[in-house]
Symmetry: C2
Subunit: 326 residues, 2 copies
């Protein structure tokens, strides 16, 4: 079923059918009706491939996340999708994992003109490589800082967020505040660590301990905590950089026969819905994940529609949600 057949059915030219389809200029009412009827009768649907090839617009963007199971990522994606839908765009989701190979294949969609831009949530350390693959297509980096001048990005002030957490714990009387961090190929991990260290100093706390989780998973959080608890001096509070990790942290604490927050307080990060599912409910630094997604879309649309405008960096407001765990 093509525009040709509709034209024949309606007794007009393909140009006229196309005009009706794009409710373009003024088609004579009588012709419009004929075309519309032919369309309904034959249940015609325009071929998007042809249209997009011709117009060089796909109204699709690629979204690459490292792990869609991560509730924070899922929430960001929803925000992107919401805003995209509002603006007539569609998203192509790629769960790239950390494998650059997989990213490479997905980015073929970019160069193949299937999508008009890409939103990534990649580790900072991967960005140079990404940069080469993406070249000069519109690109927005989300929830992780990018210092490439061509790339817009949206994120939070990681340093001050970490400071907020440490400040809160210190003021609550905790003296041995440990950190469980993600690996430092992520810039946010570096920045939060920096905030942590700075704020400890600020508070005159010399005790410090950092343990690294090799993934943002329950088990990685558990392991990292077990390593921490095996040390001579145990912490009385743990600040961790993701709610998912925090679940593992609490499990490890409880497995060690200790309790939260009496023996060790725990603070998470992200403010995902799972943070209130835990027992005790988790105190966490909440990122405006949904809104970050929306903003990421706005930025990419701007890059697409006004490529001459310079890239933007948007910093959003995060806040501490106090619950029972700390």
């Amino acid at each position: 079923m093509s525009i040709q057949k509709i034209a024949r059915l309606a007794g007009v030219s393909v140009a006229t059918v196309s005009r009706v389809l794009n409710n373009n200029s003024t088609v004579k009412e009588k012709n419009r009706k004929k075309v519309l009827q032919a369309i309904t009768e034959s249940n015609y649907q325009p071929n998007l491939l042809a249209r997009q090839l011709r117009t060089a617009r796909s109204l699709m963007i690629l979204v690459m996340v490292s792990d869609i199971s991560n509730p924070f990522c899922a929430e960001v994606v929803k925000g992107i999708e919401e805003e995209a839908e509002k603006n007539g765009f569609r998203i192509l989701l790629c769960n790239s994992g950390s494998e650059i190979e997989r990213s490479r294949s997905s980015l073929g969609l970019l160069s193949g003109k299937m999508v008009e831009g890409v939103i990534t949530m990649n580790a900072f350390s991967k960005l140079p490589e990404m940069s080469q693959l993406i070249r000069n297509t519109p690109w927005v980096q989300c929830a992780e800082y990018s210092d490439n001048g061509e790339t817009s990005c949206v994120g939070i002030d990681d340093i001050s967020c970490a400071q907020t957490v440490v400040d809160y714990l210190a003021k609550a009387g905790y003296r041995r505040i440990a950190m469980i961090n993600h690996d430092l190929s992520y810039n946010y991990a570096r920045l939060r660590q920096q905030g942590y260290v700075q704020q400890l100093a600020q508070q005159g706390l010399s005790w410090q301990a950092i343990s690294y989780a090799d993934a943002l998973s329950f088990s990685a959080g558990k392991e990292a905590t077990m390593r921490l608890l095996a040390e001579n001096e145990q912490p009385d509070a743990i600040f961790t950089v993701s709610d998912t990790l925090a679940a593992g942290v609490m499990a490890a604490i409880q497995a060690a026969g200790l309790s939260v927050p009496e023996d060790i307080a725990v603070v998470g990060f992200d403010g995902t819905e799972i943070s209130e599912m835990f027992y005790p409910p988790l105190t966490t630094l909440a990122q405006p994940s949904r809104e970050m997604g929306r903003e990421a879309f706005r930025l990419i649309q701007q890059r697409i529609e006004q490529p001459e405008k310079p890239a933007e960096r948007v910093i959003m407001q995060a806040h501490l949600v106090k619950r029972a765990s700390a």
Copy 2:
């Protein structure tokens, strides 16, 4: 950058370039080299839209989920994506929510030839409507029974799974086993309820109570449980149809000053990674979610490549994972 320019650069015809691109028939080695070099030099990438328009193949499928934040859905999607990638397919993810309007718009991609098939996880009650929209494009329904003869589907034996849970609880000595179910527009909800009722009878247990959650969320689970606990006779065990709901169930129980499993045992469903994050860790009926996703892809590929073959119905094995909550 088009195939034309490459042809000019390499001093051959576009046909030859195309042949090299598809490492087709035998292109003379010398020409192949010239073409390859021209491609590298100019960093040429074929336009996918043109190729797909011409070949009428997009190697993409649409995946529609109602909520990507649901860990079970996310896991299934990962399975689909894994298998798709292995077979050179790409997925377009649509977080349709429950809104049929949103589905409708996404299905435009189907009729618009952007995708070759669709995998849905829709409620049974929505299927007739979907059926009209999808018409005769390859379609696989995942994790929810479909009785449309044209649609392949993959799922579990919901009745016997529910029976397994009730049987386990009854044998452990629980006598007042309640159920917290999703709304009955989902066929799985109906079937699990059926299994629950049957197995209670089987075990000679006359006490029965069912409360419905209006979404698969923490808060919906909490509310449904609060309604349950407000009744005269309280349950000593609760079987609920999703791990996410179970989180709310446990929170409500704890909020009522009771403890799990001493006062009320809890069993979840899905076997998502969050089930081990709870305290106490959740006993749950684990679905092979990843594998279901993979199978869903295999089915859709079969529908795409061999449309003449009849639709298939695949039932996968689920199993009870015993933890501390029951």
